[in-house]
């Protein structure tokens, strides 16, 4: 068979945007000797066609007739360029190549068959570059080691990816005679991440059965018992000491987060903490579900692929909730190291935070946009403790029929796997994401990286929605962590399962039965189908080219039976698999740190400090990121992430209208402030809850329909002091949920976010709790945005400003932490939220913004420059505590539960009577003059800046 090679270049006169962007990245890396970069696409096609057809292929399909040209074979190095370095990037064998699949189909549309298509990228670097620079560029910019190989120079083609077929060989592991140390060693050798107690429980189970486990049985147990899947730590019993006082939890999660939900017992909660996402009522016919997941480890190794599969994975959660939801919005929140870090300060095995950030944003962009789901809300937080463990939170909200919120798999239902094929990608993802990482993980765990293809998921979504509408399946779930092992195992937990593993469609030959069972290959869902519906459902899938395969059936013997070519390779009791994990008791310890308030001299004005905070990474505009996400697809947007007179102010929350025929909406927000956790994680968690709720309220969300989600990302919780901070945050979740009457409906944890450097030092992330929140809006036409609207309108602050600069951005720019962390008054905070929500519903408020990072001064500045109107404020009108006499405290304190609202003068009386008994006061008014001025008690301006300077300070940081 003939091997054809096509190279596609940009025609002279047409810009090579990929080449230019690579050049920019090379410059950022500090290599100045590269003068220019040319990029080309390479297609390797194995087929029996002639020169004529090859010419047609180049002209009609592979190259754009206007701006590109093609070469058949290898192009010569560009003429007249003495110093040219060629680098070709090929996918590693076995890695999915979606472009190759599309090209194969397109050639068949042209009436020709091909045997194999592969694609690659070619780069020509011009300039005097050393070999080590070439290797650095190849490794750090052009290719990702986990999935790609670089060929440097004009050498041979990489080997063809044809793999040998697998021959069955059943592997038994001998546990019987192993002692504790040997059990631990075995767990480590096989990457099981099971500890000695767990290994002993398994040993005992097999001793009772009188046999040894097969490898696939042990792997199934390891997947099912992984921290990622069962949350061993959060469900363990905890003996805790809080500043010397002893507290005991039988089950930490059940006695904090879950307990609040149970106690609140809201009738609008449909399914909480039981399915792939939490489900609440939307209207008479519909429900909405929400899930937020993390994808931290994969994103640390491969930012682009890790983040893409992070969003791809969380989208499958609503798709696999109840009988399946239609995704209507995505959220994403990231934590990175600071992007200006010097290259030499980056530990070995860690990617530069700027590369991580760019990769993560591109990954979420490409997957989310291709899925046609608007990305409407997010946040980015920077701290150097995230350098080696970046955090990537991805969320998805789905809309579903209210009468289809529960699954009902029955014995004798067929088990069908739908969507993508199974490959070797993502093996051990669940266990890998449960342990710590070190500088060597990049190589050891490269197989844990999953490869995403949004289009496979999109077409699977299209057909599953049709099958759901037709009522052709009994249950659905996604293949996430643990792959088929988790998906099939969980769906059949109360029944029993028989699977013939050789039936699972594979991306390529050579996978053994265990790899098939635990692979975390993406874009797969599992459904339970009655045999009589098989034909009808297959037709729906086949009609749109989506693969579906019967791989087994549900039984009623509560056994997990796995076969390969008829030979039994596993026979496990479902009860042991799902309930056999030993219960842990852990120790936790919390001691309030001894901290002091810094002594920062007072100043005549605070213009510089305000500008500095506006430019700081956490506060600065994220427009560079937001615009790369399609936040309007589906046509459901109401309040967009950017708002104001120039469409560039920071919205507090997103509002979407998920149904064409209804004006009912959903508000979506988040809250997070890890810095407060350095003082007290209890107040950090409450601040996160208060912030997420404030954001919902600001756009017009109902105060009585708020649902919360928790995502705990912590360090190594076997350390009592680390678990202590987590338990403290969990207690706050209970208190906050009860006070705001806002139940948690779903949650997830990611523990052991620590990194061991090659010198043995450990970097642990700061305790990070993300609170995601959503609420309903009865009439989206009444939503408001945060941009100040019109001169002569009045501005009020509702909520008290206290001496709470601990963990604030004002202290951060002075390099200090402080002690007075912002607290939440659990009586007034919910009351303020309710009244503001009512005032917006009554049409009394024309703009509303909360005070968060940077306090009052930042919030006023944002309202002014977003609205393109001036603000004249006077601190005499600020409702404040007795301890709040300093001007800098009044300007920058980050006290919770504060809202700035803009009111038309004629609505003053109605608004004031609504705020009766609340701390509120008139802070100033909106003006024509494009200046923010804030006057102190003596009438002197302590802030006076024009809008352009304020906005420029806020926008310049990420003007990438």
């Amino acid at each position: 068979m003939r091997q054809w090679r096509f190279e596609i270049f940009n025609r002279a006169g047409f810009s090579d945007v990929h080449g230019s962007s690579v050049l920019e990245d090379i410059r950022e890396l500090g290599i100045s000797s590269v003068e220019a970069v040319q990029s080309a696409k390479v297609f390797l096609i194995e087929a029996e066609f002639d020169e004529d057809f090859a010419g047609r292929l180049g002209k009609e399909l592979l190259a754009d007739p206007v701006c590109e040209e093609y070469y058949i074979g290898r192009s010569a190095a560009p003429a007249g360029l003495a110093k040219a370095t060629l680098i070709e990037v090929h996918l590693k064998s076995g890695v999915t190549d979606p472009v190759a699949e599309s090209v194969t189909a397109a050639i068949s549309d042209m009436g020709m068959a091909v045997n194999n298509v592969r694609t690659a990228r070619k780069y020509i670097l011009l300039g005097d570059i050393s070999q080590s620079q070439t290797e650095t560029i190849a490794r750090k910019i052009l290719a990702n080691d986990c999935i790609e190989d670089c060929v440097i120079g004009n050498e041979a083609e990489p080997p063809s990816p044809h793999l040998k077929p697998y021959e069955l060989q059943i592997v038994h592991l001998s546990l019987r005679n192993l002692n504790e140390d040997e059990l631990t060693a075995l767990s480590k050798e096989k990457d099981l991440f099971l500890n000695a107690v767990e290994m002993q429980a398994i040993q005992k189970y097999y001793a009772e059965l009188g046999r040894e486990p097969t490898d696939i049985e042990l792997e199934s147990i390891a997947q099912t018992w992984s921290e990622h899947c069962v949350h061993k730590t959060l469900k363990s019993s905890v003996d805790m000491s809080i500043d010397g006082e002893q507290v005991h939890f039988d089950n930490l999660l059940k006695e904090t987060v879950f307990k609040a939900t149970k106690q609140l017992n809201k009738n609008w909660c449909i399914s909480v903490f039981s399915d792939n996402a939490g489900v609440v009522e939307f209207d008479e016919d519909s429900a909405i579900c929400f899930k937020v997941e993390t994808h931290n480890r994969p994103s640390a190794l491969d930012p682009y692929g890790g983040a893409a599969t992070g969003i791809g994975g969380v989208i499958r959660d609503p798709m696999g909730t109840g009988m399946g939801a239609r995704p209507v919005a995505n959220t994403d929140i990231f934590c990175f190291g600071e992007p200006d870090k010097k290259l030499e300060d980056i530990p070995k095995g860690v990617l530069h935070p700027r590369r991580v950030m760019k990769g993560v944003v591109s990954g979420v962009r490409d997957y989310g946009n291709r899925m046609g789901i608007p990305t409407v809300n997010g946040a980015i937080y920077f701290d150097d403790r995230y350098l080696a463990n970046p955090l990537v939170f991805c969320g998805d909200i789905g809309l579903m029929d209210k009468d289809k919120c529960f699954k009902n798999p029955q014995s004798s239902n067929l088990i069908i796997v739908v969507g993508g094929r199974t490959g070797r990608d993502g093996i051990h993802g669940a266990t890998f994401s449960s342990g710590q990482i070190t500088h060597e993980y990049e190589t050891i765990f490269s197989h844990a990286v999953q490869i995403g293809n949004a289009i496979t998921e999109k077409k699977m979504l299209d057909v599953l929605l049709q099958a759901n509408l037709a009522g052709l399946y009994e249950a659905i779930t996604d293949c996430g962590a643990g792959g088929l092992s988790s998906a099939v195992g969980e769906m059949g937990a109360e029944l029993g399962v028989e699977v013939d593993l050789e039936k699972v469609p594979l991306k390529y030959a050579g996978l053994n039965y265990t790899e098939i069972w635990i692979s975390e290959a993406q874009e797969r869902m599992v459904i339970a189908v009655r045999p009589e519906n098989l034909k009808a459902i297959k037709k729906i899938f086949d009609d749109e080219n989506v693969e579906s395969t019967v791989i087994g059936k549900f039984t009623d013997d509560k056994k997990l039976i796995l076969r390969y070519n008829g030979q039994e390779v596993a026979n496990l009791d479902m009860d042991f698999l799902h309930n056999g994990v030993p219960k842990y008791s852990r120790k936790a310890h919390w001691k309030s740190p001894e901290l002091a308030e810094p002594n920062i001299p007072e100043k005549d004005d605070y213009n510089d400090q305000l500008l500095q905070i506006l430019s700081s990474y956490n506060v600065a505009s994220k427009e560079w990121v937001i615009r790369q996400y399609d936040h309007e697809v589906q046509g459901n947007s109401v309040v967009k992430p950017l708002t104001g007179v120039n469409n560039d102010g920071p919205s507090d929350a997103a509002v979407i209208k998920p149904k064409f025929n209804s004006d009912k909406g959903i508000a979506i927000s988040c809250g997070m402030n890890p810095l407060y956790g350095d003082i007290d994680p209890y107040w950090m968690a409450l601040a996160g809850i208060d912030e997420a709720i404030r954001n919902l309220i600001c756009v017009g969300g109902r105060a009585d329909r708020i649902a919360l989600l928790d995502n705990f990302c912590w360090g190594d919780c076997t350390k009592p002091e680390t678990l202590g901070t987590l338990a403290r945050a969990a207690q706050a979740c209970y208190d906050g949920a009860i006070a705001f009457e806002s139940p948690f409906i779903s949650g997830k944890d990611s523990l052991n976010n620590e990194f061991t450097c090659d010198d043995g030092t450990t970097i642990a992330i700061c305790a990070t709790l993300l609170i995601s929140a959503m609420s309903l809006i009865d009439d989206i036409n009444k939503s408001v945005t945060m941009d100040a609207k019109k001169a002569a309108n009045l501005l009020f602050v509702v909520g008290e400003t206290k001496n709470e600069l601990g963990g604030s951005h004002y202290y951060k720019i002075h390099g200090r932490l402080g002690a007075n962390v912002p607290k939440v008054n659990l009586e007034t905070a919910p009351e303020i939220a309710k009244r503001i929500s009512t005032a917006i519903a009554d049409g009394l408020i024309v703009s509303c913004h909360d005070c968060s990072e940077g306090g009052l001064a930042v919030a006023l500045a944002e309202m002014a420059f977003a609205g393109g109107v001036g603000i004249e404020a006077d601190l005499r009108g600020l409702p404040k505590g007795n301890d709040c006499s300093r001007i800098d405290t009044q300007l920058f304190s980050e006290s919770n539960s504060r809202y700035i609202v803009e009111i038309e003068p004629e609505n003053y009386d109605a608004f004031a009577s609504l705020c009766l008994n609340l701390p509120f006061g008139q802070i100033g008014k909106v003006t024509e003059e494009k200046i923010l001025s804030i006057k102190a008690q003596d009438g002197k301006a302590v802030i006076e800046l024009d809008l352009d300077s304020l906005k420029q300070a806020w926008q310049k940081t990420f003007n990438w």
Partner: protein
């Protein structure tokens, strides 16, 4: 008056089909959303419709180039029925990815001659990345039935490959002379300008093209995303509320309304 029937074409990776269907329904059409596989199986089905819309999305992942694989599929399976559709005086609209498909299939700007594919194409934004932002558009032609002449409209774009380029200046001059340019990107005051007013670096600020009949329109911005007042990015501000009072039809709806009215009048 006969019921106007529109078809929204679905394919692997197309993702703006629902809101496009909704916009057509608001305009009064009866709409079916149909997968391309069904049309290839039964090409005669197109005869039942008077409007076909190629919606936005990422058909086949935009592999090779945006819209390329779907365009190839159309060239090899549907070029004749589509030719007939246009010749029968019916309407074709391509939005975003659908526009890319029409250009790469040679349906725009010309009449399915292979030559126009060699003269005009759509490629990567100058910024090198996908962007979602709102743009003002002014019509450049009076012959395109979808367009209200003289009305400046405000719509969002959301694409990574929206830069229209021509082979050379002669091709560009021909586009102008033959009135193929449907819309240009302009600023609030109606003037052409650089990025971000022209969000992708399109030659001559071209945002959309029409064919010689004026019955085929392709544009990068999304009219289906501005069919209700609360989709406008500044709907919550006074100036928008006031403007919305005066001008009852949203900017995006004008395209769909004109299409449906044209069919009502001519069929």
């Amino acid at each position: 008056m006969a019921q106007v029937k529109a078809i929204v074409l679905r394919a692997t990776g197309i993702n703006c089909d629902m809101e496009t269907q909704y916009a057509l329904e608001l305009a009064g059409a009866e709409v079916q959303s149909v997968h391309i596989n069904r049309i290839i199986e039964d090409k005669a089905m197109l005869e039942k419709f008077q409007i076909i819309v190629f919606p936005g999305g990422f058909s086949y992942g935009d592999d090779v180039a945006a819209g390329k694989i779907l365009a190839n599929q159309i060239i090899h399976h549907l070029s004749e029925p589509l030719r007939k559709f246009i010749d029968d005086g019916k309407l074709v609209l391509g939005i975003c990815n659908g526009f890319q498909v029409l250009v790469k299939a040679g349906i725009l700007p010309g009449n399915n001659s292979t030559k126009c594919q060699e003269e005009v194409t759509i490629t990567y934004n100058d910024s090198g990345k996908f962007e979602d932002r709102w743009v003002y558009l002014v019509p450049q032609t009076k012959k395109c039935v979808f367009i209200e002449p003289g009305r400046k409209i405000y719509l969002p774009i959301a694409h990574g490959e929206g830069k229209i380029v021509t082979k050379d200046t002669a091709s560009l001059e021909k586009l102008k002379a033959d009135e193929h340019i449907a819309f240009k990107y302009v600023n609030e005051n109606g003037e052409e300008a650089g990025y971000p007013v022209n969000p992708n670096g399109s030659v001559d600020s071209i945002a959309g093209l029409t064919d010689t009949t004026g019955r085929v329109l392709g544009l990068m911005p999304h009219p289906e995303r501005h069919v209700r007042l609360t989709q406008h990015p500044r709907w919550s501000r006074y100036e928008s509320r006031a403007a919305n009072h005066e001008q009852r039809t949203t900017d995006g709806m004008t395209i769909f309304d004109n299409a449906v009215k044209y069919i009502q009048k001519n069929f």
